[in-house]
Amino acid sequence: MKLYVKFDFNTTCKRVLEERLNAFGVDYNILGIGEVILKSSFSTEQLNQLQVSLDPYGIKIIDDEKSELVQRIKDAVTEMIYLDEKAKLYKSSTYLADKLNYSYNHLSNVFSETTYSSIENFIILKKIDYAKTLIAEDKLTLTEIAFRLNYSSVAHLSGQFKKTTGLTPSVFQRILNKRKELSQPQ
């Protein structure tokens, strides 16, 4: 038997945060994704303890503003690609600037400074990552995937896929299928 499940990352993360923060008995406020306001101040040691308790969930406390903005850019890119149908109507630079309320120039500078890579590159990486997930699920054709991810053609998607991973989508799919066979011996 095989089950397919779907996650709502925001809810999951929020629940985990609530659970962990409650254990500290402080008043707090969770503002959307990635921001928590603590109503009393935390000592460095308490922050460390909180970090340790969040480690198993892969949640990291980010302290400086720039890394925080980078994280928000990444989250906004993820949202743009995974969830937001309307985002297709805008250029990604306009979308991000509107969403985060900074000029694209500023976003782009902070991003490159902190990650040594550009927002454009990150968008491509994230889109290809999504394409991989969709290919792995094996429910949509490549044409449908190209459309979902807002590529003008299958050739464009395949080209970018090859450039990013060094493999064509069909080779990638073959490898994944063989891996599955290998991990489930008959």
Partner: protein
Amino acid sequence: MHIVLADDDEDDRLLFQEAIEETKVKLHLSLFHDGQQLMDYLLQGPSVLPQLIFLDLNMPIKNGMQCLKEIRSTAHLKHLCVAIYSTSSSDHDIEETFINGANIYINKPNSFSKLRDAIKKVLQMNWQYHTSSLNKDNFLLRI
């Protein structure tokens, strides 16, 4: 960042080390001269596991493919990122390593500058996978 390389060829190890230094990425590199030595190190449970393992395919005693299979079937190592670093460019060999769990396949380049660029690309991509909630199960890269 902590990375390791297992390669039996001393010249290749040196070139790799120099290329890493030229990328100016801050990291700690440990070198091993065969697969057995690398596996002994990994299995004894070092305090910090490497974020990235570079494996030469052709090595005496224990080759890269054997190491890869062992890493993928050991509970505390199976999540590690493995890059195969080899002279073979046959599609069959490459697919075989991916099927057995490699994340990255690097064709040993024939010039130093190409090697440096390849390593840089790998480090960048690997870092993204560690910091950007990308799906590691689908991490495949061929250079």
